[in-house]
Amino acid sequence: MMDKIVLSGFGGQGVMFVGKVLAYAGLLDEREVCWIPSYGPEMRGGTANCAVIIADEEIYSPVVEQADCGIVLNQPSYDKFLPRIKAGGALVVNSSIIDMAVSRDDITILAVPASEIANSLGAPNIANMVCLGALLSKLQLTDYRSIEKAMDAVVGKKKPELYEVNLAAVKKGGDCA
């Protein structure tokens, strides 16, 4: 079994962070995991994205060409990754700032007003976690409890308050799924 997930948004929207949380979730469940960042000059301003693979067997090819599911936080990301989800897969879309005129009907599109929800939680910068919450139901090898453990490992100790609000966001996102 294997979950191949792509995550994309613009720098500052915390897609790398979501990726790390997912990877840690896999690690703590003693799965095989791979966190694959995009790196390069595009960084400056532009869009950042990463891919995460969670598997219950050794991961040979780390190349994620087509993903099982993903999260896109801004327009360029939506345009870029919409075609890169496997038929039957799922894409969580931050509908607050993404226009979904173009779409696909062979995949599940979860439109989540993540920015609004994040604002409503008083933390505009956690739209990423909201979307993560929405994504969870689509994953085979991880779930909310694993995310909780992972969050604890990644931020827990250092910033309890951050920990709380992030998990709240994940929960809220979960309700949208």
């Binding site: 613009f10 929207q13 301003g45 801004n74 327009q75 700032i97």
Partner: protein, 67 residues
């Protein structure tokens, strides 16, 4: 009457113009541009004295100032 033209799609909402405007009539807007940034908007066009300071400090050539 002085006038500031904002090329909203170039704006990165860095706030330098907001900070420099002697009339404090510039503010970060609330709807994102294509890049996802929230471009500045002129809150009170009447007040603009056309000093051009905003254009002078804008790193991204967003602003043109007329008088």
């Amino acid at each position: 009457m002085p006038k500031v033209v904002v090329a909203a799609d170039r704006c990165k909402s860095c706030g330098l113009c907001v900070d420099v405007c002697p009339k404090t009539i510039l503010a970060i807007g609330d709807k994102p541009n294509s890049k996802g940034y929230y471009p500045v908007a002129v809150t009170d066009e009447e007040e603009c004295q056309g000093c051009g300071l905003c254009g002078l400090v804008c790193p991204d050539l967003v602003l043109e100032v007329y008088k």
